[in-house]
Symmetry: C2
Subunit: 474 residues, 2 copies
């Protein structure tokens, strides 16, 4: 990618210096609070705030204010110095996340690192390591130490792996241990399914696809077995105590997101969303940065209600959605079904889109699926940035279109999300030996190229106008 | 495709009989009017109206009323007995069109027939033959005689080919000849760029990408050369006289559609749309069925204005759009950029979406591009049918989701838009020798399958409830 809206890479040593200084002043590990929100509330403009302000073209003070009010999150664990921080919030450019990580059926650290590299190359703003297979810790460590983008996780996966998949053995002490271990390793944000509660279980029984979130399903099974309330909810403040020590952000998980159109916007989903809103307020008491996860499978006509309701009950915390996927009938194409819903909800204010790959519902994505998924999510996010009227968002589009009209193919490729594919598609269609710079492509051939005809027409019009001055417009 | 919302194929001999009878009663070729709109206005419910009513689940009288008022078009040239008619209108399911046809760089009748077969197999409701290369007439004849779906064309392409690409030699007599030749061959609808006018030319001069419609560019060049008004506009009534003899529908072309986001919703585009609205009224005087073509490249926030304005100035004539494409930066992925805009405008009321393939802007689509393009457009159209609340539109989604929850993989595949790809994706991820019916996929592996966990949780909850009667909901 030769084109990027980001400035050149920052000197991350500077970030490291700022963090070292901050930690030295912050006191004991147990008591310290190093979150950006804590600092923002105190009125401090941090290195990280300046950095994201520079990336996005805003004033640092505006960034500080957004973070202080909870309307934006800067993902920047102090133990992840390799990462260039980003800001996630409605006022800023829409971000995309790529899920990587192994499963019990496929596990190779090298393969995950290759997926990481690939995801970042094609435009992922964050990656989530969703490993559930062997070597969870080693895989995550390799990802963290090699990732220049913030990394998210779902700690309950590791917790369950530590008890060999025996849900009954899960408990809060184990979870707190896993969360702190991952926090100290450098994880920038964590999905915590604290909104799946005992009273919401019966609400899911009549659903067509029940509970489709892995975390949600695990916790539901635990609650049924134990006849107790979700320990992530009852011990939420204990979790906050850990998060603030490292500046890990919450991504409050939507364990009850709809898994099909028929279940969208139902009582279970919205009951959980209400709880997530309450939890966001508690997290903010501890100055823990927080975003809210959202659906899922939602028909287009019900998307707006998701955004409006989230904005209302979650007090402006950034929304981070998986899709929405707008039809259930396209397994193998859910990068597209989710791009449609994702573009729409991002235009309405959603701050981050989790990519969905074409393998969704069918298998673990491979490297090519990651690429397709990232580019498709990027299309949705970028289209939303333009629709939101973000300053400068359309600049790249305008430059590419100008290059298109000027038959500057090389510049077109360079400005494309995927220059390699664009070039290959055009070259493939041209006859052997044809000049690759020719003013047409195989779609229309030379005589039917509208761009070429239009250029000729403009030239003729200009010549006539200088002859007859305004004869044409009658 | 084993699943279809359409009923089983009709006996097209019955249509043929109805047409023969109709033609016998209609008088001389020159004077006759056999359009569905003419018959609808007379109060007649034709075989074609009954057929589309059956396909869509409406009363025939409602169909007749929609056709009589111009709010819907039944594409059904009396000289194309091979085709099963469809209805295009806001009240009905959203249709998709696939463009096929050769160019000067690629021409093979067999290849085009293969694309036709492929487009129909994957769900195209109509095809347009946009051939601009050699053997235009033979290629079109092969397509018409083999197509079970209505076929559209852009006659000015053949006109230009007949004068060896010399724009200056175009004239109305040639065009009328081409239109009548194509009409008698069986073309069901034709794009006529009668809205590109002399006074609109200066409006395009400051555009970033000028005129991107091939027809629009050809006619603009002609007007500049001749210093005369567009002959398709000045002789529009002569064209109507031909259309009604065969029941060819107008697809009034948007020769000035925007070719980039920067040009969207500009004066040129909307001036042409106003003209198309006037022309629709003239077409209806002759009972010629009419739809209106629309953009193009449009940012998401400007899509609604397109639909609202079209509805207002075109008096309810069906809208038929190419996209809209919502960002310019994704050459190689414009099937996706157009699916986002297409789904949105279809939800708002657009009646037909022209597919855009991944080769758009870069080259002529091949067979695989046609498949990807059709399926992607189908996703957009189907998502819109659901969002519009069309009766029964979500049935297939519900059935697929029920199969998903029940781990009925075979039924999932069968209900998918692309069963082959869905099956291949899942099978690829499973270990060698693994039972393909197992209750998980490689995405999560057996222990982390939320569907499986959710099923276990439901079973446990049911068992507990029968023990303790409602102990869970506290």
């Amino acid at each position: 990618m030769t084109y990027t809206t980001k400035s050149t890479s920052p000197d991350l040593n500077k970030r490291h210096e700022a963090v070292v200084e901050r930690l030295a002043a912050a006191g004991s590990l147990k008591e310290r609070n190093v979150s950006q929100m804590y600092l923002a509330k105190k009125g401090e403009i941090t290195w990280e705030m300046r950095r994201v302000a520079e990336r996005e073209g805003f004033e640092p003070e505006f960034v500080r204010d957004q973070v202080a009010s909870g309307r934006a999150v800067i993902t920047s664990n102090v133990a992840h110095p390799e990462a260039d921080p980003i800001i996630i919030g409605e006022a800023f450019s829409v971000k995309i996340n790529a899920n990587i990580g192994n499963s019990a059926l496929h596990f190779s650290v090298d393969e995950e690192l290759e997926k990481l590299r690939w995801a970042v190359k094609w435009g992922a703003d964050t990656v989530m390591d969703l490993s559930t297979g062997p070597n969870i810790i080693e895989t995550r460590d390799a990802i963290l130490r090699n990732s220049t983008v913030p990394v998210g996780t779902v700690p309950i996966y590791e917790a369950l792996a530590r008890v060999d998949g025996d849900v009954a053995k899960l408990n809060i002490d184990l979870m707190l241990k896993v969360i702190e271990d991952q926090a100290s390793q450098g994880v920038d944000y964590m999905t915590i399914h604290a909104g799946v509660l005992k009273h919401t279980i019966p609400m899911t029984c009549k659903r067509k696809t029940g509970i489709v979130s892995r975390g949600g399903a695990i916790l539901t099974k635990w609650m049924i077995m134990k006849k107790e309330e979700n320990f992530l909810y009852t011990h939420f403040r204990d979790i906050c105590q850990i998060m603030k020590r490292y500046d890990v952000a919450f991504s409050l998980g939507d364990g009850l997101r709809p898994g099909c159109l028929a279940d969208a916007n139902d009582a279970a989903q919205f009951a959980e969303l209400d709880t997530l809103g309450e939890l966001a307020k508690i997290a903010w008491e501890y100055d823990v940065q927080t975003m809210i996860e959202g659906p899922g499978h939602v028909p287009m006509n019900l998307i707006a209600e998701n955004m409006e309701r989230q904005r209302r009950v979650c007090h402006g915390a950034p929304f981070y959605t998986l899709g929405p996927i707008v039809t259930d009938i396209a397994p193998g194409y859910d990068h597209i079904t989710s791009a449609i819903g994702g573009a729409m909800i991002a235009m309405m204010g959603c701050s981050m889109l989790c990519y969905v790959t074409q393998k969704e519902h069918l298998g673990l994505p491979d490297k090519d699926d990651v690429k397709q998924g990232v580019i498709t999510a990027k299309i949705a996010a970028h289209a939303a940035d333009i629709a939101k009227g973000l300053p400068g968002a359309r600049k790249r589009d305008d430059e590419l279109s100008a290059a298109r009209a000027a038959f500057d193919w090389e510049k077109q490729y360079e400005l494309s999300l995927d220059p390699e594919t664009a070039r290959a598609f055009r070259d493939h269609g041209l006859p052997e030996g044809e000049d690759k710079k020719s003013e047409y492509c195989s779609m229309c051939g030379p005589n039917f190229c509208s761009m070429r005809l239009s250029k000729q027409a403009r030239e003729m019009a200009a010549a006539q106008q200088s002859e007859e001055s305004q004869a044409l417009p009658k």
